[in-house]
Every structure is written in structure tokens, then in C-alpha cells.
Amino acid sequence: MLRIEHAYWLLALFLAGSAWLNLRERRWWHAAFWAVLAVLFAGGDGVLAASKAHNLVPAQLAGMGVLALAVLAPRMHRGELREREVAMREADALRLGHQLFLPAILIPLVTMAVALFGAYAVFAGVRLFAPKQMTLTGLALACVVALIAALWVTRAKPRAGLTEGRRLLDTLGWAALLPLTLAALGGVFAATGVGSAIADLVRLGVPVNNALACVMAYGIGMVLFTVIMGNAFAAFPVLTAGIGLPLLIQLHGANPAILGALGMVTGYCGTLFTPMAANFNIVPVALLELPNQNDVIRAQWKTGAALLIVNLALMYFLAFRA
């Protein structure tokens, strides 16, 4: 049975391979960074299992690993990684044509197939895919299938999978790690009571008897909290428990389904504004080799701002009707 853990092990292998290539090229900081990350990925399940059994030592070691990554990250610079010459790439592109799209399309297609039909894939009474995070397990499988197809179509040596993958991974550099670090920070914030402190702060300045003021406080609170945490999911329970439920639903009689749905999408507007949502706003900056860290946010904040106004209006005009 394929489980999400297998995907983590595969990724650990890729990270270790990238560390090895960097080591051979004497790019010490990169080598150390990917090596530490590989260990964290390979050992992650052990850490979680030990914590469940109240043994915190592996988790503390992992915590030290995270500190080590934080020290190493600023030392990683975008090196001059040789890419194949443009002329040779153009020649291959002409020769291979649409065949090049096939492996690329396989990634979404195989992922989709596993997401939709994975639950029915049974072989000799054993399910092929574990139900937990099946889509992501499917994504990992799709990447392996696509790599094999890519090697076959381009007649490249299997080694190219690692060297070219490493090239892109080093292009990403520390930005690859940021989503994880930020999510971990979300966990720490939740455990240290940052959320309820912010909800209290918002409530301090709201005239509670005015429905419009409460809607504004809830919506803007969702945006602010999402901007700080980088994630509307973290903001929703805090703000809805702090403002939505007591003030809007219980005091002013708002419809919970409408308020919940619109509150969440209002938070999503905040995701468009913040570098804390690194996997959406910072990772693509590295992937697309853009010069400024905020280039993607600059391209999308106007969409977010217009939608925020739409959402606040929808909330005010729809939630109190039903």
C-alpha cells in the first residue's frame, strides 16, 4: 500500500542526492542545508511517533535541526548553475515537439486519476493507496511516472533526473523551506496563545451594537490575521470564536453558513497580500527567477483589494437576511 510517508522518504532521497552533488562541487552551505532537511524528512515519522509516546527527545533534535536550517539559509546564494545551451534546447524542442508536453501533462493526469479513483484501486484485497492525503500520495506517484516518461521521451540518462532536479532545487534555495517554517510558526503561535490575544485586541476597538462595525471588524480582522499568519485556516477559528460567533451570530442574528463561507474567503483576500503565505507568494518568485521578493504580491494585490470590498458588502447584505 502506498502511503504519504513513502512520498516523504522519496523526497528525502532527492534532497540527499542534491546535498551530495553540492558536496562534490564544494558548495558547502547548500550541501549542509539539503542534508539537514533530508534527515528531517526521513526521520519525521519517527519524531511524531516518539512525541505521541511522550518521548520529546527526537522532537527536540528536530527543533535543533530547524535552528540549524535558519542559520544556514542566509548563506545560500543563487549560484551560477549551468543550464544546457539555448541552441541545443531549441534543437531538441524542434525535434521532439509536442512529445515534450506528454510527461508534463502526466503529472496532473496521474494525480487526478489517483485523487478520483484511488479509493477503488484494490489489488488482492489490499488497497493500493492509503486514504490519508491520497491526492498528495498521487502527486508523488505522478512525479515518478512523469520522470520516467520524460527520460524516455528525451532519451536523457537517468542521472539527469537528479542533476536537473538539483538545478531547480538550488534555484529555489531557502524559499523552498519557507512555507514549512511559516506553518511551523503557525503551530507555535497557536500553542502560545497569540491568536486569542489578537482577537481580544480587535474586540477592544469595536462598537458591538453596530452590525456594520462588527462585520468590518470580523472581515478586516480575518484579513489582518491571515496576513500575519500567512494562512486563512489559522485565522478562521480564532476570529470566528472571538467576533463572529458572539457578536455577529448571537448578538445580531447573522446566518452562520453565510458568515462562515464569506469570512473564510475574506481571509483568502489577505493571503494575496502577504509574504507570509510563502508557498503562494515567495516560492513562485524564486521559481520564475523574479528580481524582487514582492513581485507576485504586487501583481495580485489589486485583485485582492477589490474582492475584499465585494466580500464585506456581500457579508453585510446577505448574512442578516435569512
Binding site: L10, L11, G44, L56, Q60, L61, A62, G63, L67, A70, P74, R89, E90, A91, L94, H98, L100, F101, A104, L109, M112, A115, T135, L139, C143, L151, A160, R167, W174, L178, P179, L180, T181, A183, A184, L185, V188, F189, A191, G193, V194, A197, I198, I228, P237, T240, A241, A257, G260, A261, T271, L272, M276, I282, P284, V285, L288, L290, Q300, L307
Partner: protein, 237 residues
């Protein structure tokens, strides 16, 4: 007073980002600061940091796409995507962006959020296609314009994803909302919630669609105004 102290962690993030320090150490430092401010011991903070980190490993899984994409790029995937779009008549930048937005939203509404993304589709396919479509104006893109086009592609992927997945009923946002209300004694059906995200999804499509048209128009018109200037500049030599 003790109640407010963990907010110091937020302050560390805001100041660190504003001063443009490397975000990774800033974020880790913020975690340590709010842990200390909440009165936790060093051991507790390390364990909290380690556990939170390994629980979120799924966020790096997109990196598994890199070997396959890298091999294809080595054989000219981006060059081919570019050449193909420039041959297609009538496939303008605005149409490309709006089609991608629509497909992304619809797939996400069906819960298929991870089949497209910045690593899977934006870098290898959408960005080179958009660059080629933009260059149909008859002049090559300046580096700055190229960056703008790429950033707008990434933005389009984000908008499509966020305002599609919120309508999907079987996981993520809708279940979180339902679960939260259930904990507080309000029972709702997932469909009741998802339905009310639909107006926002439509508004997102309209707003970002209009912005795509305006953006494409801007890219096309800067070429027209820039071209005579370069000719004059050349003539002066």
C-alpha cells in the same frame, strides 16, 4: 499583561520582514520569541518547533515535480511551449490568462487543487506561453516586462486556486468551517456553506479577468509607444 506578551513574536516577524532580513531565520526567531514570552522552557520550545515542522512536511512535496520538469526543460520544454503559442493565431495574452484562470478555478472546485501549481504548470508551461503570447505585439519583451508577465501568471494561478477551492465541499475550507460550528453546537451541511462561497468565486473571476485584459493591453501598448523611440535612438548612432 502576560496575556499580550506572545504578540512579541508577531512583532519580530513584522520588523524582520520590513527590514528585509532573510525570512527563514526571522520566522524561526519569532517562534522562539513567542515561546519564551509565553513562559515555555528551552526544551519545550525546541520540541514544539520540531513537531510543528515535521507535521507540515506536505508543503514541500511539490519539490518532487522538479526532476521531471528539469529533464523536460533540458530538452527544450519552455522553448517549445513558447514556439507553439507564437504559431497559434488569435491566442492572445488576455485569452491565455483568462482560460488558465477558468480552468484553475473549475478544477479546484472539483477538489483538484494540487494538479496545477507554480512548479507543475506556471514555470514550465504558463509563463513561457504568456511570454510568447505577449510578444505577438511585434516587439520582444524588455526584461522588466518579462518579469511583470511572469508575476502576473503566478498571481493568476493564486487567484484561481483560492477562489475555486473554497467552493469544494469534501475537504479544506468548507470542512474546517463545518467542524468549527459543530464544536460550538451549530450543525450545518457542507453544501450550505460551499454555496455561499460561489458569489465570491464569480466575483474573483470577473475582477481578475478584467485586470488580465487591462494588463495585456498595457503590455501591448508600451511596445507601440516604445518602438519609435528605439528606432530614433538607433538612427542617432
Amino acid at each position: 499583561m502576560m496575556h499580550w506578551l506572545p504578540l512579541l513574536g508577531v512583532l519580530v516577524v513584522v520588523v524582520g520582514f520590513a527590514l528585509r532580513f532573510n525570512p527563514v531565520p526571522v520566522v524561526v526567531a519569532a517562534g522562539v520569541v513567542s515561546g519564551v514570552a509565553a513562559g515555555k522552557s528551552v526544551g519545550e520550545i525546541l520540541a514544539l518547533l520540531g513537531n510543528s515542522f515535521v507535521s507540515e512536511r506536505a508543503l514541500l512535496l511539490f519539490a518532487l515535480t522538479l526532476p521531471a520538469i528539469g529533464v523536460l526543460e533540458r530538452a527544450g520544454l519552455r522553448e517549445h511551449a513558447r514556439n507553439w503559442i507564437s504559431r497559434l493565431q488569435g491566442f492572445t495574452l488576455a485569452r491565455l490568462l483568462i482560460s488558465y484562470l477558468a480552468i484553475r478555478q473549475i478544477l479546484c472546485m472539483m477538489g483538484l487543487t494540487d494538479i496545477e501549481g507554480h512548479a507543475q504548470t506556471v514555470r514550465p508551461l504558463l509563463a513561457p506561453m504568456a511570454e510568447a503570447a505577449a510578444e505577438k505585439r511585434g516587439a520582444p519583451l524588455e526584461q522588466e516586462e518579462r518579469n511583470d508577465v511572469r508575476a502576473f501568471c503566478a498571481a493568476t494561478d493564486n487567484v484561481g486556486r483560492f477562489f475555486g477551492e473554497d467552493v469544494f465541499i469534501a475537504l479544506g475550507a468548507v470542512l474546517l468551517i463545518q467542524g468549527f460550528y459543530a464544536q460550538h453546537g451549530i450543525q450545518l451541511q457542507p453544501l450550505q456553506i460551499a454555496l455561499w462561497a460561489l458569489p465570491t468565486a464569480i466575483a474573483a473571476f470577473v475582477i481578475h479577468g478584467i485586470r488580465s485584459v487591462l494588463f495585456a493591453r498595457r503590455i501591448a501598448s508600451t511596445a507601440r509607444s516604445a518602438r519609435p523611440a528605439t528606432v530614433e535612438h538607433d538612427a542617432a548612432h
